[in-house]
């Protein structure tokens, strides 16, 4: 439609404006829940399959190819779950704050829905990192929990996720929930590095460097490969769950629109 209009107009200036407009429309095409919903639906199976395949590959490398650690024996193999989960937990908080901020600034509903959809996945990875960390700690350090800087800051990150989800759950109006969550996420994301460094410093002040993962021997290439494969698998898993969750959120919030009603009728 736009192309036809611009072809009909003779003035090159108008043409340019129309071209710019049509480009802008392309850029924001999928910012509307109505167009994003089917796109997300098409993408989810791909990410699910990629996650499954990468997870199998990563687990195989982790359990069968990577060598046994000289100091820790086979107990270290939980690293293939633990480290990627910890990476994802921190990364997802930043992504969540980014989309929440975009939603706050540009007032785009879909961005805020994405932020809401990311929070539970991020919290799950944070919990998984803590859980596997304590499972790893028992055989290697001899205790389920130490007040190590990394463990403590990961625990605080879990609290931050809980705060975000609790705030959004307490507000009935979805648009207010979006904006309030965005303000909290932005304040939180500024605080995350401050908290991390203060905890690191607190730890060195009180404990001295008693247990540190930095002192671990340099990693074999296969170990690194296993970890990277698992990280990619977690990445794909996050995309799959976040996209399907955002689809549910879209249906939940837009149920009164015509296309949503049709979608629900078709599905049921």
């Amino acid at each position: 439609m736009k192309v036809e209009l611009s072809a009909l107009t003779t003035s090159p200036q108008v043409k340019q404006v129309n071209n710019a407009a049509s480009e802008r429309i392309h850029w924001f095409w999928f910012a509307s829940p109505q167009t994003f919903y089917p796109l997300a639906g098409r993408m989810v199976p791909w990410f699910v399959w990629l996650a499954v395949l990468l997870c199998i590959a990563g687990t195989y490398v982790g359990f069968f190819i990577a060598p046994t650690d000289a100091q820790q024996g086979d107990a270290y193999r939980i690293i293939f779950l633990h480290v990627p989960a910890a990476w994802m937990s921190m990364f997802l908080y930043v992504v969540m704050a980014f989309w929440a901020g975009v939603g706050l600034v540009f007032n785009t509903r879909l961005s805020s829905m994405l932020a809401t959809a990311i929070a539970p996945t991020g919290a799950i990875f944070t919990f998984l990192a803590l859980w596997t960390g304590s499972l790893w700690g028992k055989p290697t350090w001899g205790t389920w929990w130490v007040w190590d800087a990394r463990l403590t800051s990961e625990l605080i990150l879990l609290f931050l996720y809980f705060g975000f989800m609790a705030l959004q759950a307490a507000i009935d109006d979805p648009r207010r929930a979006d904006r309030a969550g965005a303000i909290l996420a932005l304040v939180g994301v500024i605080n995350v590095p401050i908290i991390y460094f203060s905890v690191v410093w607190w730890n060195t002040l009180h404990q001295g460097a008693s247990i540190s993962m930095k002192s671990a021997p340099t990693m074999a290439m296969t170990m690194l490969l296993g970890m990277l494969l698992m990280a990619l698998a977690f990445w794909m898993y996050s995309l799959a769950t976040i996209l399907s969750r955002v689809r549910s959120i879209i249906l939940e919030r837009e149920w009164h629109t015509q296309w949503c009603k049709e979608e629900i009728r078709r599905a049921s």
Binding site: I156, F159, L160, F162, G163, A166, L167, A170, I171, R176, R179, A180, I183, L184, L186, V187, G188, I190, N191, I194, I195, S198, V199, W201, W202, L205, H206
Partner: protein, 222 residues
């Protein structure tokens, strides 16, 4: 702008002075929490002395948290906050005024009360001086950061517990640097670095918190 801010501070102080009980309750709470710890862990002098910085700071943190409910809630209930949002003065500046008044009503009295409690735990004079300096800076940071949580939970059900959940993780750096300063002096080190970091945290929160609190208040009034 400064005039409007000073006006808000004067107003909040005048209101608080007419109902002295509210401000006093926070202080009584502070004293009670601090005196619960010896009952919990036992009267051993050395143990209590080493725990004192942490105990005093955690109690100060909780008192600041409890008093947050009074920061915006009464003004929200009687419509004053709405008038502030409508006024020609920027809401961010008025927020700074409210936060400063909150600090003058909770942080400063806590700081003045803390030496007496510190003596109960047998802290040295140097440590007490550093504790007070830290509390003076730190409670201001708590008021600023806490205002964001109070504004975000304005008018929500279960607002008090929710704002604790939001704000307490953000309070952690203040706790670490504040009690760290006292611990450093107790073990014969210099506490300047801790206090400077505390001041840096305060400055960052002065920049960010009023804006965030003002946006959250506007959100609650929509």
């Amino acid at each position: 702008m400064i005039g409007a801010m000073a006006c808000v501070v004067r107003r909040d102080l005048a209101l608080a002075l007419r109902r002295k009980g509210d401000a006093a309750n926070t202080l009584v709470f502070f004293v009670i929490v601090v005196s619960l710890f010896p009952l919990g862990v036992g009267p051993e002098r050395a143990l209590l002395q080493s725990m004192a910085p942490g105990i005093l700071w955690v109690a100060a943190l909780l008192s600041a948290l409890l008093s947050l409910a009074r920061l915006f809630e009464p003004d929200y209930a009687d419509g004053t906050l709405e008038q502030m949002a409508l006024s020609v003065e920027p809401l961010t500046v008025l927020m700074i005024g409210k936060i400063l008044a909150h600090w003058l009503l909770t942080g400063v009295p806590l700081t003045l009360l803390a030496p007496v409690l510190a003596l109960q735990f047998d802290l040295h004079a140097d440590a007490i001086a550093v504790l007070c300096a830290g509390l003076l800076i730190g409670t201001a940071a708590l008021s600023f950061v806490g205002a964001v949580g109070a504004a975000l939970t304005l008018g929500l059900r279960g607002g008090g517990v929710l704002s604790a959940l939001l704000v307490l993780p953000l309070f952690i750096p203040v706790l670490i640097f504040g009690s760290g300063a006292v611990v450093a002096v107790e073990s014969g080190l210099d506490a300047t670095a801790h206090l400077q970091l505390l001041a840096a945290f305060l400055l960052v929160s002065v920049v960010i918190a009023p804006w965030a609190a003002a946006s959250a208040v506007r959100l609650a009034l929509d």
